[in-house]
Symmetry: C3
Subunit: 140 residues, 3 copies
């Protein structure tokens, strides 16, 4: 049984959805030693999140940002947590809708993603800065 873990800071990104599959893979090359297992990426923040979605056409990521801003608008009249700026409370809600972690099977030393799947960093703040993630891989 193997257990590997590392913590990295992702490249700072503007508000929106961003592919980070390569950054994650480069941070934990030990994945190649795992025959059957799992990889988890966990983000240590409450106003940014992680999800898995299409890795090809960037217009998908643009539409994600447009739609989530409709689903969770800024300046809703019922928000009371407003002192950190209009992008703050929506960012918390968006983060829980997308989730704080992704968990991906490992097969034969590689992430067993579908052909069109990639890992997204979902940056919900206007100026979120660099985000910390814990990457854990385990298996036989």
């Amino acid at each position: 049984m193997k257990f590997y873990q590392t913590e990295i800071r992702l490249k700072s990104q503007r508000r929106g959805f961003h592919l980070i599959t390569e950054e994650v893979l480069q941070a934990l090359p030990e994945i190649k030693h795992i025959n059957i297992g799992q990889l988890q990426v966990f983000i240590k923040h409450t106003s940014a999140s992680l999800t898995i979605n299409e890795n090809a056409d960037p217009s998908v990521r643009t539409d994600f940002e447009s739609h989530i801003n409709k689903m969770v608008p800024e300046n809703a009249p019922y928000y009371i947590h407003t002192y950190e700026g209009p992008d703050d409370m929506p960012a918390h809600i968006k983060a829980s809708l997308m989730g704080a972690s992704v968990q991906i099977p490992i097969s034969n030393g590689r992430l067993n993603l579908g052909v069109w799947q990639g890992i997204y960093l979902c940056e919900h703040r206007d100026r979120g800065g660099s985000r910390s993630v814990v990457i854990t891989a385990f298996g036989n």
Copy 2:
């Protein structure tokens, strides 16, 4: 420490929410050898997803489909990723709202689900076809 993994194609389903608990259990009977552990089901697609919800009254699954179509409508004027049809971009967003995987505890050789819980395949495309899932179980 035991690690089991298999990849299967689920029965093709129409757009909507569908119970797949039995299909999953039949695909990995080795769960019975695990005393304490976890089962993960991971879908290798970005326009279908997995979730856990009520396993009894089919009207729950009908209402899921009705409501998610309201939350993530087709033909929103701000979508730019439209060339794969009106059901495509909503399908990507719905997939991330529900999630690409479910992770369930195993106790005494069985899934430790609540009495009313089942695993749903959420098919977000009009004609998604058969979907591939990777099923991983591990534990002592």
Copy 3:
């Protein structure tokens, strides 16, 4: 390789979002024996859920409840699963939006959460009662 698991009933909570990090930690003190690993908390219900979000200002949790009630309203005209009361079908949908489990890295015997992160019980029913969760920790 260590595997620990316990099942507890959480303190009954009113409808809304509630911090349960301490309840979880007290239920599985064996976390301290794990150097690198993972903790999972899984809720055995389909009308309550778990997520990770801000552990400080209670106004964040109030706004979560306000907004999720807008996103998934009661008495939508298209609901057909209505015989368990107006809060029931929305509760099922909210539960899948938030998710049935959280999975957190363990590092050096402690949960490796961000400074501002806590575990939320999301109680979506008016009178949900006490909720059962399965807590599993594993690692080296």
